[in-house]
């Protein structure tokens, strides 16, 4: 096989996307849907077939030279290496299942070509980020992801708030992109190249202060895409999109792009201890923030959105604690169970007759197909970190890395992470109890759940539950497969005595149990939502939107108003209109002179003649005087 076959992985979804966008509505519906699935599934199969290329140092494939000017030589190149390969496999695999689910979910949608075209384009952009050999290709994918998310979140744009949510996602992530763009240009100015491997190799020769600044810029860029503080407000609103889109954005792609970026540039980022601390702090802050918000949310998808934010915060903490393996491990398991949870939530919403509010659900375990309850529960226990599930092992790895970090300050982050784990267990089981336990409290009639919506849940449930096998820690007899697979890219190896490890495990189990019991005690029998100040505070996401509104949007609007009505309309327009009015007034004054009467003109002529004559005489007299 030829290494240029690697290009088929991203180009296959792109090709199908273009076909769907250009001809989609003229093709039979079945064909358009099948093609969209084949585009992604083909990429998945190709990734498996070409897996061998990732071994060793990985394989670099150049498609064509993109920019070539003087010393700048940027080619459209892919780098299929040990970091990219598992991520590619996960993205294409999960995306395939989501596509199949989407066929069932969107079967009544008129505008299917736009939907599947954008979905495929999204996968292409994500694969461009993952496989990029240089930062420019990565940036292309980065922006592509933003564009597609805008189109998909605002897919039902007839409703203004959906369109607004899409715009919000686009604009907020754009703020992060600006910082990423600055970082890229700076890196290019420093190293003269945009190739990721070369930048990583040259990182040690950059001065520490610059490294710190670059790390912070990259962190801000990652924050935008990964919905971390302070650029996290878009994610909860992104729930306006169709459920498969939520699954795609919050599970496999987009939000993990930031984590992946930091992992890719880990050799650079890890040089700055302060930068690493900042990454951990951002992650910890977001994790606890989002977990508290999730406790009070009423809409099922918003709970999951906040939980995503929180889990991505864990991944940031893992990067900050120096373990790429931990971050990628959690990224992979999280992708499985979060995609599962979102798709199951879509089914739940269908069952509840389009109802989003979990306080108007209840009793769905008996109402719908039994299997839905079990797969949702599988996702929920992974999210809560119940022992032996995938989420348990990946989260435990991160906690361990935080605990064993030599810097004592990381103990604080570890405590925050533990607390977040407690809250996670609580809100997850709260969700399960409110949705599935008790009596049916809603009014809607259940919609049918088609087969395409059901069976993609099973592989994901299995993957989520068994995800721990990817990187089973040594003390339970595992081989830490993922860590060995990453090899030199894996970051810090966390080594700790078995006693400490068992103690941490016991603590984690205790935390999960505690969270579960709290949820059990509170929500075993239905409880109406608390409507006090604290509840509202959490429901509204700490009023972060209002804060952004007050701190940024309103001053900006006021400034814009000042520029518009104060400067533009009053000063500039006023001056110009005043001048025009003055000229026009002079004109009307002067126009009275043109009476059209011969006699007026003649006398004016005579007067002019007299004046001229007088002037000439004066000159003559003066000239004679000299």
């Amino acid at each position: 096989m030829n290494e240029s076959l690697l290009f088929l992985i991203p180009l296959l979804p792109l090709f199908c996307a273009l076909i769907n966008i250009v001809f989609g509505m003229r093709l039979p519906r079945l064909f358009a849907e099948t093609m969209a699935i084949i585009g992604v599934a083909g990429a998945f199969v190709l990734t498996i077939l070409l897996w061998g290329y990732a071994e060793g140092e990985g394989t670099r494939a150049v498609l064509f030279t993109w920019l070539n000017s003087g010393t700048v030589d940027i080619s459209f190149a892919l780098n299929f290496d040990r970091l990219a390969a598992p991520m590619t496999l996960m993205v294409t695999g999960v995306a395939t299942l989501i596509h199949i689910y989407a066929v069932g979910y969107m079967h009544k949608e008129e505008d299917y070509a736009r939907f599947f075209g954008l979905l495929n384009l999204f996968v292409f952009a994500m694969l461009a980020i993952i496989l990029a050999d240089n930062l420019l290709v990565l940036f292309l994918g980065w922006e592509g992801v933003g564009l597609c998310s805008y189109g998909l979140i605002g897919f039902w744009y007839q409703k203004v708030e959906n369109a607004r949510a899409g715009t919000k996602a686009f604009l907020v992530t754009r703020v992060g992109d600006v910082f990423l763009g600055i970082a890229l240009l700076w890196l290019f100015a420093l190293t003269g190249t945009l190739s990721i491997s070369e930048i990583n190799a040259q990182a040690t020769s950059i001065s520490p202060g610059v490294i710190l600044a670059l790390t912070l810029l990259l962190l801000l860029g990652a924050c935008g895409k990964s919905a971390q503080m302070p650029l996290m407000t878009w994610l909860a609103d992104a729930m306006a999109g169709p459920t498969p889109v939520s699954a795609l954005i919050h599970a496999a792609t987009m939000v993990t792009a930031g984590v992946y970026l930091l992992c890719r540039l880990f050799p650079l980022v890890s040089l700055s201890a302060v930068g690493m601390m900042a990454i951990t702090a951002i992650g910890a802050l977001t994790a606890i923030y989002a977990a508290t918000c999730a406790m009070a949310q009423r809409e099922i998808k918003r709970v999951l959105a906040y939980s995503t934010m929180s889990q991505v915060g864990y991944m940031f903490m893992a990067v900050g604690a120096g373990t790429v393996t931990g971050a990628m491990f959690h990224l992979l398991t999280h992708a499985f169970f979060k995609a599962l949870l979102f798709m199951a939530a879509g089914c739940v919403i269908h069952l509840a007759g389009g109802e989003n509010d979990i306080f108007k659900m209840g009793g769905l375990a008996r109402r719908g197909p039994k299997e839905l309850f079990w797969v949702f529960l599988a996702g929920a226990v992974c999210l809560a970190g119940l022992p032996l599930t995938g989420g348990f092992f990946s989260k435990d790895g991160i906690l361990l890395a935080l605990y064993t970090h030599p810097d004592p300050f990381y103990k604080v982050f570890w405590l925050i992470a533990i607390l977040t784990a407690l809250l996670t267990a609580f809100y997850t089981f709260r969700l399960v109890y409110l949705v599935f336990a008790g009596e049916w409290r809603g009014t809607g009639k259940p919609h049918a759940i088609s087969l395409q919506m059901r069976w993609p849940l099973w592989p994901l449930a299995l993957l989520g539950l068994a995800g721990g096998l990817l990187n089973l820690p040594a003390f339970v007899g595992g081989s830490e497969a993922l860590h060995h697979w990453y090899g030199a890219l894996a970051g810090r190896l966390v080594t700790v005595s078995h006693e400490v490890e068992w103690m941490l495990i016991a603590l984690a189990v205790l935390i999960v149990a505690l969270g579960w019991f709290a949820a059990h005690w509170r929500y075993r029998n239905y409880q109406a939502p608390l409507d006090n100040a604290a509840g509202r505070f959490l429901l509204n996401g700490w009023y972060m939107d209002a804060l952004v509104d007050r701190a940024l949007v309103r001053p900006f609007a006021a400034m814009a108003r000042f520029c518009s009505s104060g400067l533009d309309r009053s000063l500039f327009d006023g001056t110009i209109n005043g001048l025009a009015r003055m000229v026009s007034a002079w004109g009307t004054l002067l126009v009275q002179l043109t009476t059209g009467r011969l006699t007026t003109y003649l006398s004016a002529f005579a007067w002019g003649f007299l004046i001229l004559l007088g002037w000439l005489l004066l000159k003559l007299v003066n000239g004679g005087g000299q």
């Binding site: 009275q592 009476t595 059209g596 006699t599």
Partner: protein
């Protein structure tokens, strides 16, 4: 020269002022035209006087040219007067104010 140059100039000036007064004060187009003719003749007179004063024939040549031009001008002007009369049945100059601003 029998008549002193100063006298001729004074006479021409008086003639010019008379013509100008006629042009400015009369309202009838024909009277304005007559005024113009008088002014032109005053100018011709200056030419003749100057020609006699400097003993050069150029002025007289110019006056003959001027006469020809005046004749042509009068022909055109009178034709226009006829048309103006046909349009408005009046020859008061202020009645024709169609070109006002």
């Amino acid at each position: 020269m029998i008549i002193p140059f100063g006298h001729a100039l004074a006479f021409a000036a008086a003639l010019f002022v008379l013509g100008l007064t006629c042009v400015l004060l009369r309202r009838q187009i024909i009277m304005i035209l007559i005024g113009v003719e008088i002014m032109l003749n005053a100018a011709s007179l200056v030419f003749i006087a100057a020609s006699a004063y400097w003993q050069q024939v150029d002025g007289q040549v110019f006056v003959i040219l001027l006469m020809a031009i005046t004749a042509a001008e009068v022909a055109v002007a009178l034709a226009m007067v006829v048309y103006l009369w046909r349009r408005k049945r009046t020859l008061v100059a202020d009645e024709f104010n169609g070109m006002h601003g």
